[in-house]
């Protein structure tokens, strides 16, 4: 069955055009698998293959992670990104893991990706107020989305080079590279007012209040018991670490030879979770890959996103927007040099 094309096929035609124009050597994107149902990540090198790029609302793995792991740093690579992927790529770039000069980010609008725990047969597309399965419209239900997507405030990847709308056929360029991409694809930038994101932000803050609120309402002891019981479910598969785009270290301190956590012990020591938390949370992009990867069903993204939100307001740091702003724990501001106390918040 032919999949319905969303966004006027703009994502596909831009990818094909920049491959043809030689602007990039390959494009990393999710494509429809050979059985027409699977969603698999692939490096595309030919224009014809670009038609296989899918706009369905699945995000089985982080493209930023794949780009870092498998991308050839000497090649120019285009990536079809959601805002969380784009933010993760920028976070990796500021940690000197990816050369942003060689990356062309084709942003696509995204209002959430499918929760794999919900059984859906067919290509699923999630929009702000409706869901389409194989082109048939359905009611928007929160259980269809990943919990982290409900809390997401960034449906439009303004940090990417171009952003393509999936609902109506509009395109915007945000950077010089973005203009190059649109020139190569011979597509004019859409005129008109900027998108109104008030409703999205309102909904995101509603879900943030709900998810974080139920934790902050608990007594500290209750909260500790809640998280300890969650951590006790852990089978130490390292799935969260392997799925996380911000966890880039080749030599991970959580491996047993570093002697921080014992090798053969289940559930792992609590420091296992806390180490990852302090490493990742200050730059967390709320992509939710950790939670999706967790076979034990620990609501990890809630913990990370909550800490990120708090640290973000203290350090006035938004992860994944400006590549020139260093990670919060690796920098100090001039203002702080004048403070004498032991706290900065």
């Amino acid at each position: 069955m032919k999949e319905k094309v969303y966004g006027g096929g703009l994502v596909q035609s831009i990818a094909a055009a920049i491959l043809k124009a030689g602007l990039v050597d390959e494009v990393l994107a999710f494509v429809t698998g050979l059985d027409g149902r699977d969603i698999i990540p692939a490096f595309i090198t030919s224009e014809d293959e670009a038609q296989r790029i899918t706009t369905a609302s699945y995000n089985p793995c982080s493209l930023a992670k794949l780009l870092h792991k498998y991308g050839d740093q000497h090649k120019k690579i285009g990536v079809v990104v959601r805002s969380c992927d784009a933010r993760a790529i920028i976070e990796l770039a500021k940690r000197h893991q990816i050369n942003l000069d060689n990356i062309y980010m084709i942003g696509r609008e995204c209002y959430g990706v499918a929760n794999i725990n919900e059984d859906v047969s067919g290509a699923l597309h999630i929009f702000f107020d409706r869901i389409e399965v194989d082109g048939k419209e359905q009611k928007w239900e929160e259980k269809m989305l990943r919990p982290n997507c409900l809390r997401c405030e960034y449906p439009i990847p303004t940090m990417a080079d171009v952003s393509v709308s999936i609902d109506n056929n509009s395109v915007k360029a945000f950077t010089e590279k973005g203009k190059q991409i649109l020139a190569a694809a011979n597509i004019a930038e859409s005129e008109g007012a900027t998108d109104d994101l008030t409703a999205v932000k309102e909904r995101a803050s509603k879900y943030q209040e709900r998810d974080f609120g139920e934790l902050t309402k608990m007594e500290p002891e209750e909260r500790l018991n809640y998280w300890l019981s969650q951590f006790d479910k852990c089978i130490k598969c390292y799935g969260c670490r392997d799925a996380c785009p911000i966890c880039y270290c080749k030599d991970c301190t959580l491996e047993p030879e570093h002697m921080l956590v014992k090798g053969a012990q289940l559930p792992p020591e609590k420091v296992f979770h806390l180490t990852r938390l302090i490493h990742v949370a200050p730059g967390c992009v709320n992509c939710g890959q950790c939670e999706a990867a967790c076979p034990a069903g620990i609501p990890i993204s809630k913990l990370y996103h909550q800490l990120y939100k708090e640290l973000s307001s203290i350090f006035r740091y938004e992860s994944g927007f400006d590549v020139n702003v260093p990670p919060p724990l690796d920098t100090i501001t001039d203002e702080e040099l004048t403070l004498g106390g032991v706290t900065i918040d």
Binding site: L215, M218, P220, E221, E222, R223, L224, N225, Y226, W227, L228, T253, L260, E269, K270, V271, L274, T275, L277, I278, A281, P282, L303, Q306, L307, E310, L311, I314, F315, P328, L329, D330, I332, E336, L337, L339, G340, V342, T343, I344, D345
Partner: protein, 146 residues
């Protein structure tokens, strides 16, 4: 649980881990010693070359291993031997405190203080006061449940 029951809040002697900067606080502790200032014996000291050497993981590892409180002592702002180390420490300790609060541990179990080489009295007072705070908080719940 036997041990936990015996360690009621009143008769509880906390285990405190102190990370002391080589250039200021460690010398400060030394001064407290040679000046024969009495202070709580609960603190175990690890000397670091700078308070910024204290990786947040060290603090978390200590707490999850059953230490009741972690004291990080560094040079006063502007006096760091390595120019800016203590400013980084301040950010890291802030992050750790918020982490502890979010998982339900008392953020007061971690404390950052500035103690210079000439402040032997201040070192003793800081240790005394921190020991008192931890006694008030009781044993580290991660130790009891272990």
């Amino acid at each position: 649980m036997m041990r936990a029951e015996r360690e009621t809040k009143a008769g509880f002697e906390p285990k405190i881990l102190g990370f002391l900067c080589n250039w200021c606080s460690y010398a400060g502790a030394d001064l407290a010693g040679v000046s024969r200032i009495q202070y709580a014996p609960n603190v175990r000291v690890i000397r670091t070359m700078c308070s910024a050497r204290v990786n947040p993981i060290f603090i978390l590892k200590a707490l999850t291993s059953g230490i009741d409180g972690v004291l990080v002592l560094g040079c006063h702002p502007g006096e760091c031997h390595y120019m800016k180390g203590n400013y980084y420490t301040r950010r890291r300790v802030t992050a750790v405190k918020h982490l502890l609060k979010n998982i339900g541990l008392e953020p007061e179990r971690v404390r950052l203080e500035w103690v210079s080489a000439s402040e032997g009295k201040r070192f003793a007072d800081t240790v005394d006061e921190f020991t008192k705070t931890i006694k008030g908080l009781g044993p580290n719940p991660l130790r009891v449940t272990k």
